[in-house]
């Protein structure tokens, strides 16, 4: 063992830094030199009441040149780097560290889009900044009587095209800049599908697994009260996002209605049907993926009834998309979820699978059997010889490691960010058409728009009407992005961004600058 290993022996703690190094795990040698990496866990003892249990584990890499308690630690997955040898600060300050700032990424993306537009510089400067960024403290009383204070955010990036619209997430890694970036991205998404919304996002920096349901309710109600002056059906409409659901939306409706003394179901979307939720909302993202897939195949002269499709992820989005595409005559030959993948060259009976997962343990595919079916890995599913690949699971699934092996002619990004920039490039050179997430999974926000429309009109549409309208909106968006891509000779991903940016800029320009 390397002599430095003893300095990170099990149980060794550095009392003046945060998080504490809890224990070392292993030491690895690098190639061709004497440098090394230490992998070890960091975390904060629960006695300190850390607001981020997420940070309690994960391998960390110690750069070889550091011979002191490390200046930076890279948490597993590469999302967070924390400075350790500085003065103690908040978890949020730590989390910023050298993490790549998502707001900078958004600005980069906007700048890239600008090269293909002729937006005046003044309008551009407006577009590059969020209209309003709100930070609130969220004190709650824990079930044991202790008081804990969390931090919440709500960012309204642009209201140029209409009331702001965006989800609310509960996650330990939430930062203001991340919320700003996601709000900007929502502005673009709403503009791409041409619904009369601006973009916003909200979040509370907390690990919801540390809280009971009653505590989550108190967090939600307190957060709602704090941001209430800035949200509403005509101002900003939250919706479910990471770790939030219909129940949390219901609490927001109740809190807002109680404090305002009037029924305000239109203050959120994604709530329960009984409180004014929309029929078809649950299926909307998967249905949007279906419309997108059919639209792209039509433009590539591929007959949907001859198309072979593989879908990674069999949750809400993947399973609905599979069912609807099979209903259209497509042959779904590959499916997978976290329990594994399955391949059936003659095509699966999707309704049979849906019946199976209804009662299977964890609603997983594991244990499903059908004639002619074989088990494959999730990695193998991504490289199946199919016409369409629909990643509907997690981000960063198609990477430089497997992109060269992808055989699909079309990738429809049902999940957010399934393709890394490296893979994007490799696939482009292979001639693979990628339908970007900003377009492919926009069905959810379009249906949210329909829910909001119904709420403010005090109407309840039949599900059929919602689905028909969703089809019209998605097909129009596909046509516009496709045409722009051809016209300017750019990828569909960039075309979607350019379309969104130009629409927001046009709205800002038409409204003029107030005072």
């Amino acid at each position: 063992m390397h002599k430095l290993d003893s300095r990170f022996s099990n149980g060794r703690k550095y009392p003046l830094i945060w998080p504490y190094v809890l224990d070392s795990v292993m030491q690895t040698n690098r190639e061709k030199d004497t440098s090394f990496s230490l992998l070890y866990r960091v975390g904060v003892p629960s006695s300190l009441g850390c607001t981020s249990a997420k940070m309690n584990s994960g391998p960390c890499r110690l750069p070889y040149h550091q011979h002191e308690p490390p200046a930076t630690l890279l948490l597993g997955g590469g999302h967070i780097i924390m400075a350790l040898n500085k003065t103690i600060g908040t978890v949020q300050e730590r989390s910023l560290g050298t993490q790549i700032n998502p707001l900078h990424m958004l600005l980069q993306q906007l700048d890239l889009a600008r090269e293909h537009t002729s937006i005046p510089s003044g309008i551009w400067e407006i577009l590059r900044r969020p209209e309003r960024a709100l930070e609130v403290s969220v004190p709650i009383t824990r079930d044991d009587g202790e008081i804990e204070v969390l931090t919440g955010y709500r960012v309204q990036y642009s209201s140029a095209r209409g009331p702001c619209k965006g989800g609310l997430r509960y996650h330990a890694g939430v930062t203001l800049d991340e919320v700003k970036a996601l709000a900007g991205w929502m502005s673009l998404k709403c503009a791409v599908v041409n619904i009369p919304y601006g973009g916003s996002k909200g979040g509370i920096a907390c690990d919801p697994t540390r809280f009971s349901q009653r505590e989550i309710e108190r967090i939600t109600r307190c957060y709602t009260a704090r941001i209430l002056p800035f949200i509403g059906p005509k101002q900003d409409i939250p919706a479910p996002d990471v770790n939030t659901n219909a129940l949390i939306m219901n609490w927001i409706v109740d809190t807002a209605s109680t404090l305002r003394g009037e029924a305000t179901p239109g203050i959120v979307t994604g709530k329960s049907l009984e409180l004014g939720g929309a029929l078809g909302r649950r299926e909307a993202t998967g249905r949007g993926v279906m419309f997108t897939t059919i639209g792209i195949l039509h433009r590539l002269d591929i007959d949907i009834t001859q198309a072979r499709i593989a879908i990674q992820g069999f949750g809400n989005v993947g399973s609905i998309a599979a069912q609807l595409l099979a209903d259209q005559g497509a042959k779904v030959v590959g499916i997978s979820d976290i329990s594994g993948g399955y391949y059936c060259p003659t095509g699966f009976d999707i309704n049979d699978i849906l019946r199976y997962v209804e009662t299977s343990p964890g609603h997983l595919l594991a244990g499903y059997n059908a004639p002619g079916m074989e088990e494959i890995t999730n990695d193998e599913l991504l490289t199946l010889d199919v016409d369409v690949l629909i990643p509907a699971a997690l981000e960063a699934q198609i990477t430089s490691r497997n992109a060269a092996d992808v055989k699909a002619k079309v990738i429809v990004e049902a999940a957010n960010g399934p393709t890394t920039p490296e893979a994007d490039l490799i696939l482009a050179e292979k001639g693979v058409v990628i339908v970007p997430d900003i377009l492919a999974n926009a069905g959810g926000v379009v249906c949210s728009y329909f829910e909001w429309v119904q709420n403010i009109q005090c109407l309840a549409w039949e599900e059929k009407e919602t689905n028909q309208r969703l089809g019209r909106v998605m097909q129009r968006a596909i046509t516009e992005v496709w045409d722009l891509s051809n016209e300017r000779q750019i990828s569909l991903r960039l075309a979607a961004f350019v379309l969104g940016v130009e629409r927001i800029a046009q709205a800002i320009s038409l409204r003029g600058v107030f005072l």
């Binding site: 750069p63 040149h65 590469g78 400075a83 790549i100 990424m105 993306q109 996601l182 960010g417 490296e422």
Partner: protein, 192 residues
């Protein structure tokens, strides 16, 4: 758990810290200093160390892009890093020759730049600092042959960029070949 990051906000796969670590090691080896001394010299803005450091970063970046197996043809370095007068805020001037210019290349390079500059600021403990570390110009094969735009810079005797990496044209698709740092003109400017 997935953080549900949209494609527009997704970072590149580059392990920027590892690349900077290797660049640091390269400097330490070439200049017979410890890694800590190199970091200190970088913080103090020593031009020679900054130039060597940037050369090593460019070298690593060339190898990284070359190994992606895409239509990259060559990777050139010029400017302050090559001339030996780079400073703490200097960028790395690069010309990348590519078969066809694609917006996906621009997106990837933006992400790489962001990853590198973020790690660079962290390494040197810079609270504020350069917003970008790379100044990249894409040149397609036609521009190089016609000497248009930055294709002309490649042939300029005044600028004289050095080739850090190139794909051998006669064996396109074969494993990439990287020039040894010791054979480049730049190596002569490094004090040993």
């Amino acid at each position: 758990m997935s953080l549900n990051t949209p494609s527009g906000l997704l970072a590149s796969e580059l392990e920027a810290e590892a690349l900077l670590d290797r660049a640091l090691m390269f400097c330490a080896d070439r200049m017979h200093r410890s890694a800590d001394q190199v970091i200190q010299a970088l913080q103090e803005g020593e031009p020679e160390v900054h130039s060597t450091f940037r050369y090593a970063i460019a070298n690593g970046l060339g190898a990284y892009l070359g190994n992606l197996g895409c239509d990259f043809r060559a990777f050139y370095l010029y400017g302050s890093a090559m001339n030996g007068n780079a400073g703490i805020a200097s960028d790395i001037d690069l010309i990348i020759v590519i078969e066809h210019k694609l917006d996906q290349v621009c997106r990837l390079l933006q992400r790489l730049d962001l990853a590198l500059v973020t790690s660079y600021r962290s390494l040197l403990g810079l609270v504020s600092g350069p917003v970008g570390l790379l100044d990249v110009h894409l040149v397609d094969v036609e521009e190089r042959e016609m000497r248009h735009g930055y294709g002309a810079v490649l042939c300029s005797s005044e600028t004289s960029p050095i080739c850090l990496w190139r794909q051998l044209p006669e064996v396109a698709g074969a494993p990439v070949v990287q020039e040894s740092p010791s054979t480049s003109r730049f190596s002569h400017s490094i004090k040993r």
